[in-house]
């Protein structure tokens, strides 16, 4: 029997693996994806490891995309005009979301922790910015987070913001707002640009370089290709059941442990608990909200973190070509709208693949040029009543001319956690029932600000390709298995432990009880650091050593 089994290895699971691996024996990490480095699980599937120490020539290959990314969607509502739906992109493989993220590492502002619903604070007592700051610092040290600068007076060249950011900053200035350089976790690599497209894999400060490396050094065992189907309680712990897919086989496995940490990522962790619900009955029922007041908590309150991206073009008469396809993925942001509207704006790398997302509608004008929010996402028809061509000579030329002057940006905002996670047969689905008026208001304000930035630069806003048909797209999902003070409000307590099942923990984005309004990796890791520390020291809970005695 293992002392601790950790399911998942993203920003929650990796932290748990590093910390608990140093404090306990027989710690095992299971991940359904591959080991992109070959160092953690020599039996991992995937292309051969190259001399760069990874399996991918560059991040454009379908192999990379399918091995490292996973899409959860709403098969009922997706792509139907007028039907709200949701797409969630998550990381897959050892390192989880860190294999895909852009390294942006901002702490959540205090306002996030003050949010309430029905008169109750969303975050458990004891959680606020001041309480998390020490843990933020720990994570920032481990991930080598540093603040970029506008000029190279005091920092090396690779720590500079990009030309794209200067253009964005000028646009912000012209509408009375201000841009600032971002805090970033990167690898001090000469290839610092091209993270998302064309760059060798090693440029990103992913978790295999830090937390997971620490865990490996502590003797933690890693098994990839292990797709966990269900978990169930036993007399003295838990049994994890699933299928080992390595080597093209499908071999069922059962692994027993004393302490179980679920950290498969926001959507997958919630779905795992939902699939396992029948094994937890009576007093051990996972969802007391459902049991006691008929209002399910598990799978509910899924936040998109207010993700909303648009694409546009800077005018030809503007002094500079943006060349958004060069440089770091993200390196500046505009915080000016946070106090009034609770969103930040971030310009980001215009990878050519972004221009090909969805139905390549990025280059189509909106039906109502002055519309905001979801109204801005309806595509204008051509004069002949047909849809715009996203193919052929004209479209190819548009793509060819696009890069130099394209400026892609998006907002991250507080939302009302309108999403939910569900099961349809053996498929995991996400849904977005209805956008709340407050969220729509924030998105409208963000679209309006972004349009004004484009226009101030002599350009124009093109279509918001993310929500053309009312589809909310996010790569920053949060919630579904939230932590709370009361079992009727959440699945786990502030320590991450199940209200009803001793030694069962959730430590990933699923426990985050609200939108953060900033990129969430740092907060997920900081919360996991705090939970792991409390568990090891027995601070406010039973110590790990006592649990394993």
């Amino acid at each position: 029997m293992h002392d601790v089994v950790i399911i998942g290895s993203g920003f929650g699971g990796a932290v748990a693996a590093a910390r608990l691996g140093a404090a306990a024996n027989r710690v095992l990490v299971l991940d359904k994806g591959i080991d992109p480095t070959g160092r953690f699980d020599p039996a991992s599937d995937g292309p051969p490891v190259n001399e760069q120490g990874n399996r991918f020539a560059h991040s454009l290959s379908p192999t990379y995309l399918t091995e490292i990314g996973e899409l959860f969607t709403d098969t009922e509502g997706a792509y139907r005009d007028g039907v709200a739906s949701m797409n969630v992109v998550t990381g897959k493989g050892l390192g989880g979301g860190s294999l895909l993220y852009d390294g942006v590492s901002l702490r959540a502002p205090q306002l996030v922790f003050d949010q309430t619903r029905r008169g109750r604070r969303l975050w458990p007592s004891g959680f606020d910015r001041a309480a998390l700051d020490p843990w933020y610092r720990v994570v920032e040290d481990k991930l080598r987070v540093h603040k970029l600068e506008w000029t190279d007076a005091t920092v090396p060249h690779w720590q500079l913001a990009t030309k794209r950011d200067f253009v964005f900053a000028e646009g912000c200035r012209r509408i009375g707002a201000t841009a600032a350089p971002l805090k970033l976790a990167d690898y001090q690599d000469a290839n610092e640009g091209w993270w998302n497209q064309g760059q060798r894999f090693s440029g990103r400060q992913d978790l295999t370089k830090n937390y997971l490396a620490d865990a490996l050094a502590s003797g933690v065992e890693f098994r990839t290709g292990h797709d966990v189907d269900t978990i169930a309680p036993t007399n003295d712990g838990y049994v994890v059941k699933g299928v080992d897919t390595r080597g093209g086989r499908k071999v069922e496995f059962e692994i027993e442990c004393r302490v179980l940490i679920v950290a498969a990522g926001c959507v997958a962790s919630s779905a795992l608990l939902m699939r396992s619900r029948d094994h937890f009955v009576g007093e051990r029922a996972l969802d007391r909200g459902d049991e006691e007041n008929g209002r399910a908590v598990l799978g509910q309150n899924l936040s998109s973190n207010g993700d909303y991206g648009v694409t546009g073009r800077v005018g030809a008469d503007f002094e500079m070509r943006v060349e958004s396809f060069k440089g770091k993925p993200m390196s500046s942001f505009c915080p000016s709208f946070w106090p009034e509207h609770q969103f930040i704006l971030i310009p980001f790398y215009a990878a050519p693949l972004y221009t090909a997302l969805e139905q390549i509608s990025t280059l189509s004008p909106p039906k109502h040029p002055d519309a905001t929010g979801r109204g801005s996402t309806t595509v204008a028809e051509r004069d002949d009543g047909r849809r715009h061509r996203h193919w052929g000579f004209d479209f190819k030329r548009q793509l060819t001319e696009f890069g130099a002057r394209s400026l892609t940006m998006g907002c991250l905002a507080l939302d009302a956690c309108e999403g939910e996670i569900g099961l349809s047969g053996d498929r995991v689905q996400v849904r977005w029932r209805e956008t709340s008026a407050r969220t729509e208001e924030r998105w409208s304000a963000a679209v309006d600000a972004m349009r004004r930035i484009y226009e101030a630069l002599g350009g124009e806003l093109f279509l918001d390709n993310y929500r053309k048909d009312g589809t909310v797209n996010t790569s920053h999902p949060l919630g579904g298995c939230r932590m709370a003070d009361e079992p009727t409000e959440g699945i786990v307590n502030a320590n991450g432990e199940s209200f009803t099942n001793r030694n069962l923990f959730v430590m990933d984005g699923a426990v985050i009880p609200s939108a953060l309004g900033v990129n969430p990796s740092l907060t997920i890791a900081a919360v996991a650091e705090r939970m792991a520390d409390q568990l090891i020291r027995g601070d406010g809970t039973e110590a790990l050593s006592d649990r394993l005695a």
Partner: protein
């Protein structure tokens, strides 16, 4: 080569496309634009190649040299045949949600599916000119057929597959870098060592500059620096003080 030339040059110059007979086709080598032979194509594959060139045309000058590569220059047919094309395109949102059976068995994207897609194209062609295969239509009617196909929700699914394959291959998803270069990327530098792009700063003629040892300021002053940084602090915004919003660490308060 003859057929590609006809297709590409015909498209670029507005000349009507001749029927491409099934048989031996040539394809551009992704690295150096030399021609190489590919295996004999089926009727369905020949039809698909014609559709690829309508969706993402190759452009050539009068001598037949590639001015701007298209879908067939980046081996889109190979992309379509790739086992993980479907899941990759789906994760990029290039494809709509698929019927579960296809979604779970991407390897089903085989000859049979290619036949169905080609048959769909021929059905679209029928509306333009009865009893005429898609690949035998003149270019303008091929375009009209695809235009109408995208308007029809049922037929649009197949076309969306084809378009996804074209753009995924063209934007670097396969072996070829030609599409990326066409939209402004530098050529991949050392595919053998798995280094696609060594990054920036560079000189305007493409040489990678060592920012630690070379004088970037001097290169910039000489007008030969192609840098992705601008190295200039933006002008301040009148009336706004970020110190009220951000702490010294750069985080929102």
């Amino acid at each position: 080569m003859q057929v590609l030339g006809l297709l590409g040059l015909g498209a670029a110059c507005g000349v009507r496309t001749e029927e491409p007979p099934p048989g031996k086709f040539d394809a551009l080598d992704p690295e150096n634009y030399t021609y190489r032979e590919v295996e004999e194509l089926t009727q369905a594959e020949a039809t698909l190649r014609v559709a690829f060139d309508v969706l993402l045309p190759s452009e050539r000058d009068a001598s037949g040299s590639v001015v701007s590569p298209g879908a067939n220059d980046v081996d889109t047919l190979a992309m379509l045949a790739l086992a993980n094309f479907v899941p990759a395109a789906r994760e990029l949102n290039l494809l709509p949600v698929l019927p579960a059976v296809l979604d779970r068995t991407p390897e089903a994207f085989d000859d049979a599916v290619r036949l169905v897609l080609a048959a769909d194209l021929d059905a679209l062609a029928f509306d333009q000119r009865p009893f005429t295969a898609f690949r035998r239509l003149p270019r303008d009617l091929q375009e009209a057929a695809i235009d109408e196909g995208f308007e029809d929700p049922e037929r649009a699914v197949g076309l969306t597959f084809l378009r996804a394959a074209c753009f995924l291959a063209w934007l670097g998803g396969g072996e070829s870098k030609a599409g990326l270069v066409a939209i402004g990327f530098p050529p991949f530098e050392d595919p053998a060592a798995n280094i696609a792009i060594r990054g920036y700063p560079r000189t305007t003629d493409g040489r990678l500059v060592d920012a630690e040892t070379e004088d970037l300021g001097a290169l910039a002053a000489a007008g030969v620096l192609d840098d992705y940084t601008f190295n200039r602090t933006p002008a301040p915004t009148p009336g706004e003080d970020l110190a009220t919003l951000l702490d010294a660490n750069g985080d929102l308060l």
